[in-house]
Amino acid sequence: MSPSVLELELAASRARRLVLRMLEAHPAGHVGGALSAIDLVEAIYRTAMRLTVPGLAAPDRDRFLLSAGHKALAQYAVLAETGLIPTDVLDSYGRTGSAVPGHPDMHKLPGVEANTGALGHGLAIACGMALGARLSGFGSRVFVVMGDGELPEGSNWEGAAIAAHHRLDHLAVFVDANGLQISGPTREVMGMESISAKFDAFGWATTELDGNDMASIVRVLDELPLTPGRPSAIIARTVKGRGIPSIEGTVASHYWKPSAAELAAAIEYCEDTTRRLEALVAAS
């Protein structure tokens, strides 16, 4: 049975706590983008993907690609929260040779499909996976999370053309549009709006939603593909650093190095949220 919106919100809160657990091991990382995207990642894994631990390498598996590889903390946390990897793997974050490095490494961690981190690579790789699934006759779907800051990379639009031309409607891209990147507001660094109009012009079906609102995310996931015969682009308006009040909506959250007190406050807030959601789930 699919989890309820409330249960998904609880799962996302627990995943946020796991991001903070990694920061307890090593207090530095691309936290802002991980937390803007983590509701999307949690919902995709929990409600849209058919994945099991023994099936993580199955040829007909659904695939999740983090084109914005620096949001890896979100994927690691969700993989652990969903039980696809052991949680204690997260405690190696920051160590040399860790299976959860700053950017994901497919050879180190099950569930990671590509070595992303360099921006503008994920979409074309995902197109290859979607083409491979079709050639093999599998019903697999491919989910990609991109950042709005990586959209100026021209290679994304090579991928956008490929997906539309080859009618890859089993491919869905979520653009985590938190509106901020390392140098400032994305619209000032390199304006790429209207993002949905651009994907639409390439031949995609598009929609926009609040990417930190679980009910909206689940509704769209249930509707995929948005239009049969077309790949789907979901422009998710999000808040960078969502879930840590002291850094929400700030450029500084992009790569956050919390003090011990800042980290403790973030953990306390997150655990309060989790307890509140647990109570609501229990009462529902």
């Binding site: 040829p59 497919m106 050879h107 499909e113 590509a114 070595n115 360099a118 503008g120 690579h121 979409l123 074309a124 790789i125 995902a126 197109c127 290859g128 996976m129 979607a130 083409l131 491979g132 699934a133 050639l135 093999s136 021209g154 290679s155 090579e158 991928g159 053309a161 490929i162 031309h165 080859h166």
Partner: protein
Amino acid sequence: MTGNLLDPRITFGQAVADAAALDPKVVVLSADSGGSSGLGGFAASHPERYLEFGIQEHGVTGVASGLATCGYIPVFCAIAPFVTCRNFEAFRNDLGYMRQNVKVVGRNGGFTYSDLGATHHSLEDYALMRMIPGVTVLAPQDPAEIRGAVTAMLAHEGPVYMRIGSEPLPEIFPDDSFVIGRAKRLRSGNDLTVVSTGYVTPRVLEAVDQVGAEVDVDLLGLGTVWPLDAEAILDSALRTSRVLTVEEHYLPGGLGSAVCELLAGVPGVVVDRVAVPHDYVPSGRYDELSARFSLDPEGIAARIRAFAASGARSRPVAPGVSG
């Protein structure tokens, strides 16, 4: 050497089509480049495994990586600079770092697209590709080796870059045998080692035969640029003490550089290199440009004679061996 000259692109395309007909995992990717890579017949016979993407190489490199994760063996052939320089970071990350079983073929390598100018020349591909850990770099030397190299690269697990040219090529080998990383001895001799690679080798062979009465050349033809056949080169260099490398590539970074790296620790061995000076090659006739850079048989023969006549020989010493 037979007098029958074959277009390497047609030889290549037919070899891929033959292999793909037997192996349903082989898929051909085209960046508006398949037909001119000799793969038009495969497109007609196997349309489901011939994927067209239009003119874009970064994207196709990523697609190849994704297809490989599904167990397919993508073969992507286009003009050499566009599948090595333009997409270099995708090659490094999506194929190299991800260790994907993808075969990229740069055609019209070197300055064989001579009249189209430096945008279409590829004189740094050996250097770029051998710098990506895990990438095998092939440069088959005649039509038989192109056929053999296609079979070998498809059987090899891992990313491969192969350079072919466009000038018609004579057959110099009696069969299609090709072992990745292994040189072939085309002539045996004791005065001077010549190490050659790629479609230049038939000309080198002609040059060696021209000087045959004057210089006793040990000629090693390398269908694999990287990994280098260190054993064969070291063995020959220790006997002759002089090694001349010949390649249609920039002087820095290619086969000659790789041979220098190999022999740097070997006292008494002198290396000379025939290659293209590190500058943009003007557009022009291929035969004239080849002669300008001593890459025609007469030029290569002259360099062999000059090298053989220079300096005194000294007995080389193997690495780690004193005295």
